[in-house]
Symmetry: C2
Subunit: 204 residues, 2 copies
């Protein structure tokens, strides 16, 4: 059975991506990161989703001591709604590059043929490492980076809107109550941050 690595954050998009990878017939190993994010709720959700789908997972702890993001530095405030322009303070420098690099190592070690990531470039927060051109360049790098040949980078939601992602997820049986989007880590989602706002619009 062909194998794939799925980068699983515990949010909507990566949950749907996990179900897509399984639907396409892959035996999935999930890669979950504890990277010092503001709260652990999304990690709990990710582990639960992996177990629920019968996928094995690896939880990696990494630290970026240079912080520089409201997701890593609790002294920075997560803004409410889209009151900002440009790339928001929740941007973590090179986060997807780091995540995909580990996934590549994992994929080669496992003999996996694909890496799935839930990035999307339509209803997104403007992060540079969510753009199609970024994935195009990373795919080109992948071809030259390892001993293994032909590991593919798959971002099946890249061109979907959040509404379309929600619809695909519902069709595949994703229980969105098991996912977490809010940037803050309260008992309940704050309903006001960018991630909550995008989620609410999708699940309306």
């Amino acid at each position: 059975m062909k194998k794939a690595i799925v980068l699983l954050s515990g949010g909507m998009d990566s949950a749907v991506t996990l179900y897509i990878a399984k639907k396409r017939g892959y035996k999935v190993s999930c890669l979950i990161f504890d990277y010092g994010q503001r709260h652990k709720k999304e990690i709990t959700c990710a582990k639960r989703l992996a177990r629920l789908t019968g996928s094995e997972y690896s939880l990696l702890k990494i630290r970026l001591p240079w912080k520089q993001s409201a997701l890593l530095d609790k002294s920075l405030k997560v803004p409410d709604g889209r009151k900002f322009s440009g790339i928001p303070v929740t941007y973590v420098p090179a986060r997807n590059t780091i995540f995909i690099s580990f996934a590549l190592s994992f994929a080669e070690a496992k003999g996996a043929r694909a890496i799935f990531i839930g990035a999307n470039a339509r209803d997104f927060s403007g992060y540079p490492d969510c753009r199609p051109v970024y994935f195009k360049k990373f795919s080109a790098l992948l071809k030259k980076a390892t001993k293994a040949k032909g590991i593919k980078l798959e971002a099946p939601l890249l061109h979907k809107t959040k509404k379309e992602i929600a619809a695909i997820g519902k069709r595949l049986g994703v229980d969105f109550d098991l996912t977490w989007s809010c940037y803050k880590g309260g008992k309940r989602p704050c309903g006001r941050c960018d991630a909550c706002r995008l989620r609410a619009r999708a699940l309306l």
Copy 2:
């Protein structure tokens, strides 16, 4: 003063690269990894080299639980000399990709304009992530990966032989007694592994 990140392993090549970056007028921040390698000698050397050159450093601890390399898995034997063909068992899947990704994050957070890596493609162990084509593709990715524009990837030793690297280092005042090459972690270098063999040939 323009800033650079130098990936510092404690071996000959990265030591020379550190001195080259300083010679080119950069204020250097070194990035050192504890990635579960067989021994800590090279980390001790790297920290000492950073301090000696008045460079700040960040030591990052990462783990690749999938191992799959004689550098990470002590049950695998490091071969003596070049008795193998192809890519040796000391190859760590996607190691440079992971290292450069963290360096990219560090560079963006620091406002650095360059990442220096001591890779070389002449007298090397045959690792895919030491080849010129690999760095070419990574440079292309760098242009699209971050909010910061124009972070360059510099591999000044890429086309040098080990002998040339030693000569450059001597000219710049590198004390090679402060570097460590041996894959094993004995009191003294084993003198037989591929790294020892390449080093000895260079410093003759």
